[in-house]
């Protein structure tokens, strides 16, 4: 079947029109809004880079950036370390693999609202099961107002994020393990590689593609975190859990500062693009070199 140019255009057109109307146009329009002082129904005038200047001097935006980075680092490091260990563990138990993989995937397959509210209850100070458990084993001092304390709230939400997606990441790592040809293991066994040495010199380099995918997915997801924060703390206590996405949402739809909110969204876009570009370049190079 040789597609002629008009036929190809006809097949592409519906998707392209849909995409231009509801993604490309809003993206361009959002970029334009970020250079205006639009508020609510008022169209707003062009004010140059004023919103961006404000963003870089706004202490709330700086706090949100810091919170987002802290959240991302905790989530990405914990999630990948745990998932990798879990996947290695599942890999060595062929018969338990199916059960463990499905079981650990369940948290990612629950609605985010459900996850957020279950954990809000688990963290609740008086009747919450976490504190009850800590008191029951004599660790009364460790019991905290997890989501009501600015020093623990952000980490507590990050832990929920890790709980949700560790099984997902482990599934990807496991398929990385499963794609290593058995001849390589046989060769490694002859060379006497075992345990940590086997992992470090054989498995880890061969897991590079899975590592790239997982690191990119978890980092981009964490940089955009919004749902869990809206559902669990609404950015509080104080501003201690406000992420960039949450501030954008609040500015745009709470205070109707469409212009300023859009400029923060563009900054988030640029941040995401830079981070994923760095991750992809660095990690892909690792894959090729091996």
């Amino acid at each position: 079947m040789r597609l002629t140019r008009p036929t190809a255009l006809l097949f592409i057109a519906p998707a392209l029109i849909l995409f231009i109307l509801f993604t490309v146009y809003p993206a361009v329009s959002g970029l334009w809004l970020s250079f205006t002082d639009a508020r609510g129904a008022l169209a707003g005038d062009f004010i140059g880079i004023e919103n961006y200047v404000k963003a870089f001097t706004d202490p709330k935006a700086a706090a949100a950036l810091q919170n987002t980075i802290v959240f991302t680092v905790i989530s990405v490091v914990l999630q990948n370390a745990l998932a990798l260990a879990l996947a290695r563990w599942m890999y060595s138990h062929t018969r338990l693999q199916g059960f463990a993989r499905v079981g650990t995937l369940v948290p990612a397959m629950m609605a985010t609202v459900a996850v957020a509210y279950i954990w809000s209850y688990i963290y609740s100070p008086i009747t919450g099961p976490l504190n009850t458990l800590l008191r029951a084993v004599g660790l009364d001092g460790a019991a905290k107002i997890w989501l009501g304390d600015p020093t623990t709230a952000l980490a507590a939400i990050a832990v929920v994020n890790v709980w949700m997606f560790t099984g997902y990441a482990a599934t990807i790592y496991l398929s990385g393990f499963l794609s290593i040809p058995s001849t390589i293991f046989e060769a490694a066994a002859i060379d006497g590689a075992r345990g940590w040495k086997l992992f470090r010199s054989v498995e880890w380099p061969l897991l590079a593609p899975a590592f790239t995918v997982n690191l990119t997915l978890s980092t981009i997801g964490a940089l955009r975190v919004f749902d869990l924060i809206l559902l669990m703390t609404k950015g509080g206590p104080g501003f201690s859990t406000e992420s960039i996405s949450y501030v954008i949402f609040n500015e745009s739809f709470g205070k109707l500062n469409y212009g300023y909110g859009s400029s923060l969204a563009v900054i988030l876009l640029i941040l995401t693009v830079i981070v994923s570009f760095i991750l992809t370049t660095v990690l892909r190079r690792r894959e090729v070199e091996w």
Binding site: T7, I12, R95, F99, L178
Partner: protein, 287 residues
């Protein structure tokens, strides 16, 4: 597992008990990860007083009645209908437009189709909040706020980049011969697409349909902006408004609501686990 032969024979008696412990521990760790899920299920049939008195206990008495109250407050039947309608319509739109575009992009390789492909792929990097304000204004202008159509169009557009990426890479992995044979038999492009290509794409379509459904069912942002009135609310938003607007919700209402929010997705996962795992690991290796 792979190290059999000589060394395996020698090691086996020493390693066995350790392997058993390790296997049992793996099961225990999996169950610990699932603990909050069990906690949710058990607590959903406990009275608030019972739960407050003994947060880690079992239901006494079993309060099935919790569900009846919450079912009505959430307007659950309606919310499920709304979510399913929005999800299925969005999936249909994504699949039909995405597969057609994907076919043309994969088979008609020219400068402009490559550029179009890159445009779609660029959509993958855009955070949703870059688009929300202009979309809200657009839907306001089109008088589509609080209609199913607004959510369907937005979801379809947001999911097209992923669908096209998936369809194009799938098509590149299958030979063109069947399509050529259909052309020789006198099929036009539309007939070839519908009778030959679309059926071939079925595995990709299944994965896309499942992932789009999961992401729509999970989403908070689009319903929060475009589906806020009672009649068109999705399950997620219904639960959010039910729980979030009350200062302190009774546990006997919270847990059944949460179970009802999670249940449809968990059921979908159980039914389609093979496809879901296949989709998660697509492109990495064998699952």
């Amino acid at each position: 597992m792979v190290t059999t032969s000589a060394s395996g024979l020698r090691r086996r008696p020493r390693v066995r008990p350790l392997r058993l412990v390790s296997g049992i521990l793996l099961v225990i760790v999996t169950l610990i990860i699932l603990l909050p899920v069990f906690y949710m299920l058990v607590s959903s049939v406990r009275t608030t007083a019972d739960l407050g008195e003994n947060p880690l206990g079992f239901p006494d008495p079993i309060a099935w009645g919790n569900y009846g109250d919450v079912f009505a407050s959430l307007d659950y039947g309606r919310a499920i209908f709304n979510t399913a309608l929005v999800a299925l319509s969005s999936v249909a739109l994504v699949v039909v437009t995405g597969s057609a575009a994907g076919w043309a992009i994969a088979r008609h390789i020219r400068g402009w189709t490559k550029a179009t492909y890159r445009l779609f792929i660029a959509g993958l990097t855009i955070p949703v909040f870059v688009l929300t304000t202009p979309l809200y204004l657009l839907m306001h202008t089109l008088h589509l706020l609080d209609t199913y159509l607004a959510a369907i169009l937005v979801y379809a557009s947001f999911n097209l980049p992923f669908a096209i990426l998936f369809y194009v890479s799938f098509l590149r992995s299958i030979p063109q011969e069947l399509e050529d044979a259909a052309a020789i038999d006198g099929c036009g492009p539309l007939k070839t697409f519908w009778h030959v290509v679309f059926p071939l794409l079925r595995p990709a379509t299944a994965t896309i349909a499942i992932f789009v459904t999961l992401s729509i069912w999970n989403d908070v942002v689009v319903p929060l902006l475009f589906l806020t009135s009672g009649g068109v609310r999705t399950v997620t938003l219904s639960v959010f408004q039910f729980v979030g607007t009350q200062n302190s919700i009774a546990a006997a209402q919270l847990f059944p609501a949460v179970v009802l929010a999670a249940a449809p997705l968990i059921v979908l996962f159980i039914i389609f686990q093979r496809q879901i795992i296949g989709g998660i690991t697509a492109g990495i290796g064998k699952s």
